[in-house]
């Protein structure tokens, strides 16, 4: 007997942004209740759960609010891949026959301002943080500066990515930043790390997302339009990849973990990048979306400049990207961010994305996250 396939039969979200007086955990609980309601099941029907948060406390503490049913609830802590890792684990649990119905949840609540990082947690000397080299915004600027040099990408392309994000965010009731910004405003904003201005960066934020997973052969019990999780893959960096928090790097360049994770996700799904009708890729800043489109195999290096000028990645373009406004418009609550992408793709594939619905009845979606210290998680979803 072959392993069961996995479907997503319920989705829930707590709006992203700043929510004074609401704990990260409360946002997670809100998202779980909404996802359970969407699937038409109760917490007592759930066989297992995986969840995580960086700064919002222990996910499994949610059982105090959701109900003490005794289910196995595993906490996941894996940086930007926290949601992706929880999803991989839950998917494997269903495939292994450990349960028929599972919940995946991610939430977070960060202090305002860029993330501070502890060198010791990454095996680095204290000097690296003290002398001002351990700054994620710096890394992204260093990476895109070189990419722009190698592949003739201009500052105008960066501004177009950010303007698109805020345009899409304006159509998303769950987004944080809902005011469209012009490319001129974006380029004129203070320079955070050359060539990236303030409006080209996402901010740490707050929010929660939950998914209900079921065996695909039972999915019609819960949902009239289940979305199949065709693959979910995590990868860490290999020797030679250009990575955040690296005081030294090899001379030889290897593919990034995003390339490895995306390639494996497409291979496992038996679906090619050319079949993707809607994609969410990590846009910690505007340059990241440009680089990740190519790393995930969705376009060729350098093609992004023309794509952005022609609106290929707009909601009504040939390959809509970050249709919910991405990290730029939603902010980045680390534990919730990757699952937000899956939430958005499921909403799009069900045809229930409201004002931001991709036209033409999309059938295949893709999600990608990237984070410190060189990890990536990708999924391929289809109807």
């Amino acid at each position: 007997m072959s392993a069961p396939e996995v479907a997503i039969v319920g989705i829930g979200i707590h709006p992203f942004g700043r929510h004074d007086g609401v704990s990260g955990r409360a946002m997670g609980v809100h998202a779980v209740r909404e996802a359970l309601g969407d699937a038409g099941v109760g917490w007592s029907d759930v066989d297992f759960a995986f969840g995580g948060s960086r700064d919002g406390g222990n996910a499994d503490a949610m059982v105090a609010d959701l109900g003490l049913t005794g289910l196995p609830f595993v906490n996941v802590r894996n940086g930007c891949a926290t949601g992706g890792s929880a999803l991989v684990a839950a998917s494997n649990a269903i495939r292994a026959g450990a349960g028929d119905l599972g919940v995946v949840v991610g939430f977070d609540k960060h202090a305002p301002g860029a993330f501070g990082s502890d060198p010791a947690a990454y095996g680095l000397g204290a000097w690296y943080g003290e002398t001002g080299l351990m700054v994620t915004t710096q890394f992204f600027a260093l990476k895109i500066q070189r990419y722009m040099h190698d592949h003739d990408i201009t500052g105008a392309a960066l501004a177009r990515v950010a303007a698109k994000a805020f345009r899409n965010g304006a159509r998303n009731p769950n987004a944080w930043r809902r005011r469209p910004l012009s490319e001129e405003e974006i380029l004129a904003a203070p320079m955070i790390a050359h060539p990236l201005t303030q409006y080209m960066f996402c901010s740490p934020g707050e929010g929660g997302v939950a998914l209900v997973l079921a065996r695909a052969d039972q999915a019609s019990r819960y949902c009239d339009r289940p979305v199949h999780l065709r693959s979910a893959v995590i990868r860490t960096r290999r020797f030679g990849s250009f990575e955040v928090f690296s005081p030294g790097l090899a001379l030889e360049r290897a593919d990034s973990p995003s390339v490895d994770a995306a390639r494996a996700a497409f291979a496992q799904a038996g679906i090619g990048p050319e079949e993707v009708a809607v994609a969410q890729v990590q846009d910690t800043e505007a340059g990241a979306e440009i680089v990740h489109l190519a790393e995930c195999g969705l376009c060729k290096d350098g093609e992004q400049e023309e794509w952005l000028a022609r609106g290929v990645t707009d909601i009504d373009g040939a390959l809509p990207v970050n249709t919910d406004g991405g990290c730029l418009a939603n902010g980045e609550p680390i534990g919730a961010s990757g699952l937000r992408q899956v939430y958005e793709v499921v909403a799009q594939l069900r045809g229930r994305a409201g004002e931001r619905q991709v036209p033409g009845d999309p059938r295949v979606g893709f999600t990608h996250v990237y984070g410190a210290p060189g990890i990536s998680a990708c999924t391929v979803l289809s109807r």
């Binding site: 860029a114 000097w127 001002g132 260093l142 500066q145 320079m191 955070i192 030294g248 790097l249 090899a250």
Partner: protein, 140 residues
């Protein structure tokens, strides 16, 4: 008494010709910075200390535009500073502060060399444009 380095084992100091301290794998030859006790490429633990070259080319750069959160220990009064990766030929790419913070005076591929600069009451390493390869901002 000369100012102390921000960390031991990072660069030779005091020295007329200071050098960054890296390591080299005796199995596969890969060079790393800072020095580490194992090889990230072939997983060997047979590594030796290596003093790195003092000159290289700028692989990529940016300018840090805001005061980082702790553990950053630079001056309270923030001045933007340059940051880059420098390619030391045949060795390794090193992440570093740059002595130049003006985007008009930085370009990928420019020649740079190691300098030791004050950092609070200590010293740290940085790279500066090599004589003769400084970008002329008036012509940029």
């Amino acid at each position: 008494m000369p100012a102390q380095p921000v960390a031991d084992g990072l660069f030779t100091w005091p020295a007329d010709q200071p050098r960054l301290i890296g390591s080299r794998c005796r199995e596969c030859g890969v060079v790393t910075f800072p020095a580490q006790r194992s090889c990230p490429r072939c997983t060997s633990v047979d590594v030796e200390e290596r003093l790195l070259g003092r000159t290289g080319t700028l692989y990529t750069w940016t300018v840090q535009g805001f005061r980082p959160k702790p553990p950053y220990a630079g001056p309270e009064e923030f001045e933007p500073y340059g940051v880059g990766y420098v390619e030391l030929p045949g060795e390794v790419l090193v992440e570093t502060r740059l002595t130049v913070a003006d985007p008009d005076r930085l370009r990928i591929g420019m020649a740079v060399e190691l300098v030791i600069v004050p950092f609070g009451d200590q010293v740290t390493y940085a790279f500066a444009p090599s004589e003769g390869d400084a970008v002329d901002a008036s012509r940029a």
